[in-house]
Subunit: 313 residues, 2 copies
């Protein structure tokens, strides 16, 4: 039984790989919800959507986010009407936000709403929010503290980041599926998907019930590096590492996690850094980590699980 922590698109890819090689009963995918926000009266959960779209086969591989066969008629008209059009909502995408919002308004928890959406989308594996309680990633910049999506989408990650905090995290509890997974006797490993450490993985760990369980783990915790060859595959992770004075490399990832991980899967492009990563006290697996196809995802998932297995042995 495996618990995977995932954020956005890279996380969704490895989560998909894990879902291909593990039975539904053998995997819980705990997803960052600190990027969630309310917009136009809708509850938007970008990371949950990325994972759900991927596992349902609805994701757009070319654009890299959102749904395939998507259209933008709503946004076009919204802009014309002077509405808030800085956050791009596809026409198909809107339906998932609408159904989630209606379920939450009807009294369901985010866990229940997500399970309901997964059921209708034919997803058999458990995709769970990290928490049913509101947690909000706040980005500290020279211009002040900004909610994550305002910084990430509206301002295109442009204001340099002085710090990151997770509003509400201290009071948040793990969602029931995540709490149950962490407490299971047959938990074999925890996998950090190749997601941004600062804004995708950290917020999950900032939920006390999760962070404490991860720190007190009795099973290997392995991460897949989101940095390959000195750059992030997608998103602001590389800039955020540089701003913190960390090397933009798997060494920086290992140093940042500072004992919080047991193993790091790094790309062949960074093979020569393996010894440096190990000097940070982290075991390494060197393999091809760039996931371009579903087979890449499944192979990386299998290798990551085998690596974790070796670490526990």
């Amino acid at each position: 039984m495996i618990l995977a922590l995932a954020g956005g698109v890279g996380g969704a890819k490895l989560a998909h790989g894990l879902a291909r090689v593990l039975d539904p009963s053998g995997l819980v995918i705990a997803v960052n919800t600190a990027d969630d926000f309310r917009h136009l009266g809708l509850h938007i959960s970008p990371d949950l959507d990325s994972v759900m779209y991927k596992l349902a086969g609805l994701n757009d591989e070319v654009r890299g986010w959102g749904q395939r066969d998507e259209t933008w008629q709503f946004m076009e008209m919204l802009g014309r009407l002077g509405g808030e059009d800085w956050f791009n909502l596809g026409d198909r995408d809107l339906a998932i936000h609408m159904v989630r919002t209606r379920r939450l308004m009807a009294g369901e928890s985010l866990t229940e709403a997500t399970a309901g959406l997964c059921r209708t989308l034919g997803i058999e594996h458990v995709i769970a929010p990290m928490s049913d309680d509101p947690v909000a990633t706040m980005i500290e910049t020279d211009d002040g503290v900004l909610p994550f999506q305002h910084w990430f989408v509206r301002l295109r990650c442009e204001p340099p980041v002085c710090g990151v905090s997770f509003e509400g995290a201290a009071e948040a509890r793990p969602s029931p599926p995540v709490a149950a997974a962490l407490a299971r006797d047959d938990l074999e490993a925890i996998v950090l998907c190749p997601s941004n450490p600062f804004v995708s993985i950290d917020p999950v760990a900032a939920v006390p019930g999760i962070g404490e369980a991860l720190a007190g783990r009795k099973v290997p915790l392995v991460a897949v590096s989101p940095i390959i060859g000195g750059a992030a595959v997608k998103g602001p992770a590389a800039d955020m590492m540089a701003q913190r004075g960390l090397p933009v490399s798997p060494v920086g990832v290992a140093r940042y996690y500072d004992g919080r991980i047991d193993g790091l899967v790094i790309d062949e492009a960074d093979a020569k850094l393996a010894a440096d990563v190990e000097r940070e006290g982290v075991k390494t697996l060197v393999t091809a980590t760039l996931m371009k196809t579903a087979d890449d995802e499944a192979r990386l998932a299998e290798e990551t699980l085998a690596f974790a297995c070796r670490l526990s042995g």
Copy 2:
């Protein structure tokens, strides 16, 4: 200065014709809002939308309702997710409901929200809801009392109608533009567009401040018959007349309005009924009333205004 009362698609056509032949300062279009309802958390105003889309040139002439170049991706996904998909919402259409809902939630009245939407759509003429207060058309059937859209859309007008009532009408006040238009010294005529008398015109007149002003009018009130050649151009008007034991003809329209109108514009197809209409105490104008083109709309508007002018003379 002309006040026009309008409901759905037929009303929108004549309203468009009036807007083509009258200056923005010379026309107020009072629109039925008793079909309005909340759906998926959105405030939907079907008749206001029909008039706005038409005057903005956004309407779909072929389908007859909604926006041109519309797509249905949201609905398709909503259905797949088990959402409420009985009321068809186009992707572009959704934006107008969203912006209206946001404006109302921000504290604007429906009049203000509508004016804001008209401004962004480049509509210069005044389109106003009949009232800013909630009024709901309720359809009495053998199966019980149904909100209008449930009967009209969900049940496709199938349950026979025993009666119609307008919930909230007794407490509703005319919207400020409509109240102002009714009170103006230079009001020259009131035009009932070719809309369903029972569910498009009656609810407007059911607002006491409007109904009393119409009854105490000092200017001609002329209607354009929604019935041509024994049938309604669109919608359930003909069935509703038959269910009430009225002849499905301009005679039935005149009889139903029972002194509430001074003149009725009837189609050439019904020319032989002109004398019968006049026996109901209503003056008639016989002309081509089926509006297929913008020129038809403008011509019918001009003829209707000239007819009203003759009645006041």
